[in-house]
């Protein structure tokens, strides 16, 4: 068989590399500004963060070259081996790692700190691509789903044990990859629904949620039966049943309804009526509504029980604060407020490079890592922040183009893995600094201070670009 030789360098997608280098360069300028001790020019101290970041950028360029030197097939054949190694390292960090800021996430080697959970992301994507392209694999089969779940959840659970909630959340973004490969859209909607319901359970009083579930069920019935009359009859009957239940309890049993019972009383009549409808009509579509409703109620009740009965008050508090559901003016809340002030005070053009005053070190503690976007906002203004967002949107869209032009499923899945992880970091990090999302401490890829994150994303991107450069050689 003739194998046409391709010049790898010419096939590298230079557009994405240039976009990436611009992000890294601009990121470094902002890290410098957030960490200078002198105003502007003057001494340049390599032991400061901007100095170290420069070293890490240099090292990541070398890493990139190394990734390109290896044959593209290496990443395909050794996908599981690399995954296995990183899983062992994640176990190792739990046993022998250094605890910093309450999480055992770090190896400290000769003064340098390495965070294995960052490196687990590209290798998990490799293993996922390997699994999903293996013989006989199908997302529609239960075993296929189970294997996929295991590959993703194994590193996620190990990282949750550290505990590093932020990095764990990122692993759930691999579900986007499954969606691209044919995972049911309805399932995606259901999962999104469950996540919404989870937050709702923690934020809203339980009877209200049960009432909402009742309402949604009625709406679903209306949509399915396409009869306003039948729906109204159902609602009125349910209301009447609720009234009777309430009255019997209150006046005959002489007991006072608890809030929980009130909630249950709103759900039970409609559940019973739906059951009757299902039995009489024998139609699967009504059964689906009933099943959905039951699952939702069970979910709400169990989340509520777990949260309030099993967890201790301080643990509840921590979850509420981490999820951004509870105001914590002294800690997280204060940071977000300061972050918004810093960004907001930048105005249209910003205060000028190195002229930020709000981004004082002691106002926003993670100034050069998780909250680096504040510095952009304050010193470069709306122009700068929009520029950064356009860079990321551009890079992500370019990645979609690249992923879609792959001839092998393996490369495409790996590409979408990168897109999913990059997108999630972008979404959560910037969303949190501008107060749209809860504070989950993960870095802005290629931009934030930190060697592990930079290296891991470099490896991630470059493996994909390496696969892309050889796309014409790689067989399906």
């Amino acid at each position: 068989m003739m194998v046409q030789r391709y010049n790898t360098a010419a096939n590298i997608d230079w557009i994405s590399i240039i976009l990436c280098l611009v992000i890294i360069g601009f990121g470094w300028m902002n890290i410098y500004s957030a960490n200078i001790l002198e105003d502007g020019a003057g001494s340049f101290d390599m032991s400061q963060r901007y100095g170290k970041q420069l070293i890490w950028i240099g090292a990541s360029l070398i890493l990139a070259v190394l990734v390109f030197i290896l044959d593209a097939k290496f990443y395909i054949y050794f996908a599981y081996v690399l995954y296995g190694i990183i899983i062992l390292v994640l176990i190792g960090v739990l046993l022998f790692g250094r605890e910093i800021n309450g999480a055992k996430s770090w190896f400290v080697i000769g003064g340098f700190q390495i965070q294995p959970s960052e490196f687990a992301k590209p290798f998990t994507a490799l293993a996922l691509a390997g699994l999903m392209t293996s013989h006989n694999f199908s997302l529609k089969k239960f075993t296929g789903l189970l294997q996929t779940g295991l590959i993703i959840l194994l590193p996620a659970v190990l990282i949750l044990l550290q505990p590093d909630l932020g990095s764990t959340v990122v692993y759930f973004s691999f579900i986007f990859v499954l969606f691209r490969e044919g995972f049911s859209a309805n399932m995606m909607i259901m999962l999104a629904g469950l996540i919404l319901l989870f937050f709702a359970t923690l934020m809203i009083q339980q009877p209200l949620i049960l009432l909402i579930i009742t309402g949604v069920s009625l709406l679903a019935y209306l949509g399915t039966a396409r009869s306003l009359k039948k729906t109204v009859i159902l609602a009125v009957t349910a209301g009447a049943l609720f009234g009777i239940l309430y009255a019997v309890n209150k006046y005959l049993l002489d007991a006072r309804f608890s809030l929980f019972m009130t909630g249950l009383a709103t759900v039970v009549p409609i559940g019973l009526l739906l059951t009757v409808i299902v039995i009489r009509s024998r139609e699967i579509r009504y059964l689906k509504i009933l099943a959905g409703m039951c699952i939702a109620i069970l979910f709400v009740v169990s989340v509520d029980y777990g949260m309030h009965r099993i967890l201790k008050p301080h643990q509840q508090q921590r979850i509420y604060v981490t999820l951004g559901l509870e105001d914590d003016p002294q800690g997280v809340g204060y940071n977000v407020n300061q972050s918004k002030i810093a960004i907001g005070s930048g105005g249209f053009t910003g205060k000028g490079y190195l002229n930020g005053t709000q981004t004082k070190l002691h106002f926003v503690p993670e100034q050069s890592t998780d909250f680096i976007f504040c510095t952009v906002g304050e010193e470069w203004g709306f122009l700068g922040t929009t520029f950064v967002i356009l860079l990321y949107v551009g890079l992500l869209l370019r990645m979609i183009v690249l992923a879609e032009r792959q001839r092998t499923t393996f490369s495409r899945i790996f590409g979408y893995g990168f897109i999913a992880v990059l997108f999630t970091h972008f979404l959560i990090n910037i969303g949190m600094t501008i107060g749209l999302l809860p504070v989950i401490g993960i870095p802005l890829p290629f931009f934030s201070y930190g060697g592990s994150s930079l290296w891991a994303f470099t490896i991630f991107l470059c493996i994909f670009l390496r696969l892309d450069a050889n796309r014409l050689e790689l067989l399906r």
């Binding site: 005070s345 930048g346 005053t357 004082k360 070190l361 106002f363 929009t386 949107v393 992500l396 501008i434």
Partner: protein
């Protein structure tokens, strides 16, 4: 073609949508909402940190030992500076123009944004003068701090000192900011988390004239200050002061414990220094001077000096011999000026012969206890001397000699009792016996024990069989129980009944007739039990050791006294222990001639 290819549009749309939402939100907070820019124009908030007063330290009688005095630091944030009247500032602070320029330069080189200390520990008059004119000097503010003051110049080793945090602490504990104070050693370090309290924070809004106008968002972001917790420690100030006084002419240490509780009554390490030496602006210079001192005043001898126990160790030999049933109270051995066997001679002094166990303790007979070691190691219960030796060592471990006892002060060292493998390596397995290691029987050789462990031995004998870890904490304000570690009884492997003859022997050491080795430790009206010791010192004169407890029944104090390079234990250590016991049990020392003898005798030497 891939059936799900169209799903790529879902991704594209989602990414563009998120980008648009972000840009929209940024447009809102950066351009539409002017309030954020307003904050910036007006210098935004000013955060003022409120430092809590550090907890006070009381002694066991409730007498205050350590308290606070206010001092004022002038702080500067170079970024917020505006041109100001330098001459006026120099006048207010009484400093030169040159030094203002220098201080500002060093503040800038540290950080533009983080406050640095412009002038440390200003007095009240200067500080209040500056406070009035502060509005003319944006970028400057006055920070109130507290300095430690001491009612008596005593107990520096136990109390420790407070100093500025170092880089290592700053890296590891986000609570501390540069320039904060922290307990660096002693009690100040051990109970830092209680003593320090919690810093408070107030956030204000300021107008363009740098005047505070209002509390930011009605104090939503304020943190209330929590004053440090007061601490009561177990030291007795009078006894501590007296001990330091007695030890002034000497190098050495005194540790006094309350046997029933393990509470440390006095912890003396000589030479000492007044604790207020390490307070305030001159701390680092004076610290350097103390480090350079050849007598090492910073070295806490009570916890860190390791000496051979000398003859005090014979009490342990007696206890183990009785427990192992290789001797009984009535067992007697002959001694004619020493021990002779296998061509080896270990000298002993002149005393009656033969002696039984109690008399042997009273007379501190070397021969007797070498014989005890012989019987222990040749005990037929064990297959060889090494096994018997390890069993002997096991008893000693139960007294806590081979590990730090666990007092709160972090610099405590452990003692040393070599295992049988040590001698196996040294002499070869099976090639050593009781004769080879006979010096252990009289507390010399490889044995090393610290003064606090020795005092703990005295307390264990006083308790007839158990000890409670020596500790300095008595009560923490607002905390009901102290660490259960400090109430737990540690029983030794020796039965209570076996302590009785040893106690009787120690009684005779002090209160016996002919042959008693420490009759000068007697206290009128109180039955003191003691044992002398002399630690052989290869570098110079031997060290004088005395351990004791009193009264014999229901002991209230157990004590170990070490006097370096002063020869026999009876000569100097015993009188000092005697005076300490008298001071503690009767409240005053009536034998003033005796204390003058102790203090003068040596100074003339």
């Amino acid at each position: 073609m891939n059936p799900y290819r169209d799903r790529r549009y879902v991704f594209g749309v989602a990414i563009i949508l998120v980008g648009l939402v972000f840009i929209g939100r940024l447009f809102q907070i950066q351009i539409l909402d002017k309030s954020y820019a307003q904050y910036a124009l007006s210098n935004a908030q000013s955060v003022s940190v409120i430092y809590p007063a550090r907890g006070l330290i009381f002694d066991r009688t409730g007498e205050i030992m350590v308290y606070n005095q206010a001092a004022y630091d002038v702080m500067v944030v170079p970024l917020l500076l505006e041109p100001f009247d330098t001459t006026e500032l120099c006048r207010i602070l009484s400093i030169s123009r040159q030094s203002v320029i220098e201080k500002l330069r060093s503040a800038r080189s540290y950080s533009y944004r983080v406050p640095s200390i412009f002038m440390k520990q200003l007095d009240y008059e200067h500080a209040s003068l500056l406070q009035e004119k502060l509005y003319q000097y944006p970028g400057f503010y006055v920070q109130t701090r507290t300095l430690r003051k001491y009612t008596r110049p005593i107990a520096p080793h136990a109390l420790g000192y407070v100093g500025e945090v170092d880089q290592q602490v700053l890296d590891n504990d986000p609570y501390y900011q540069l320039g904060d104070y922290i307990g660096v050693s002693g009690i100040e370090k051990a109970y830092e988390n209680y003593l320090r309290g919690r810093k408070g924070k107030e956030v204000f809004l300021k107008d363009v004239h740098n005047q505070t106008i209002e509390s930011y968002q009605e104090g939503r972001y304020d943190v209330p200050v929590e004053v440090g917790k007061n601490l009561t420690i177990t030291l007795d100030s009078d006894l501590q002061e007296y001990g330091e006084e007695l030890m002034k002419p000497y190098v050495g240490s005194i540790v006094a414990l309350e046997p029933a509780t393990g509470e440390v009554l006095a912890l003396v390490s000589a030479p000492s220094y007044p604790p207020d030496l390490l307070v305030g602006r001159n701390l680092s210079r004076r610290f350097g001077e103390l480090v350079a001192d050849t007598l090492k005043p910073l070295f806490n001898r009570a916890l860190m000096a390791q000496y051979p126990p000398g003859s005090t160790f014979k009490t342990l030999m007696a206890l183990i011999g009785l427990q192992e049933q290789v001797i009984s109270v009535s067992t007697s051995f002959h001694c004619y000026y020493g021990f002779y066997a296998g061509g080896i001679h270990t000298a002993c002094h002149l005393h009656d012969s033969p002696l039984n166990l109690i008399e042997a303790v009273q007379n501190s007979c070397n021969t007797y206890f070498i014989n005890v070691l012989k019987h222990i190691l040749q005990d037929a219960k064990y297959e060889n001397p090494a096994a018997a030796y390890d069993n002997w060592r096991r008893h000693l471990l139960s007294f806590g000699f081979t590990r730090p006892l666990g007092i709160e002060l972090t610099n405590e060292l452990k003692g040393n009792i070599p295992g049988s493998d040590y001698f196996n390596n040294l002499y070869g397995t099976g090639r050593w016996n009781y004769l080879t290691i006979r010096s252990l029987a009289i507390g010399q050789g490889e044995l090393l024990i610290t003064p606090v462990q020795m005092a703990n031995l005295a307390a264990t004998i006083a308790n007839r069989g158990y000890y409670i870890k020596p500790h300095l904490v008595k009560k923490i304000e607002g905390v009901d129980l102290i660490d259960p570690e400090y109430t737990e009884r540690h029983y030794t492997t020796i039965d209570s009944v076996n302590y009785l003859p040893v106690v009787d022997g120690m009684d005779l050491v002090v209160n016996g007739g002919k042959g008693s080795t420490a009759r000068n430790a007697k206290v009128p009206g109180i039955v003191v039990c003691g044992k002398t010791g002399t630690a052989e010192n290869p570098h110079g004169n031997d060290h004088s050791i005395f351990i004791a407890f009193a009264p014999k029944e229901d002991p209230k104090i157990a004590i170990a006294v070490y006097v370096e390079n002063q020869g026999f234990g009876a000569t100097y250590a015993a009188p000092i222990a005697s005076l300490m016991i008298e001071k503690y049990l009767t409240g005053e020392v009536k034998r003033t001639w005796y204390e003058q003898w102790v203090m003068q005798k040596i100074t003339s030497e």
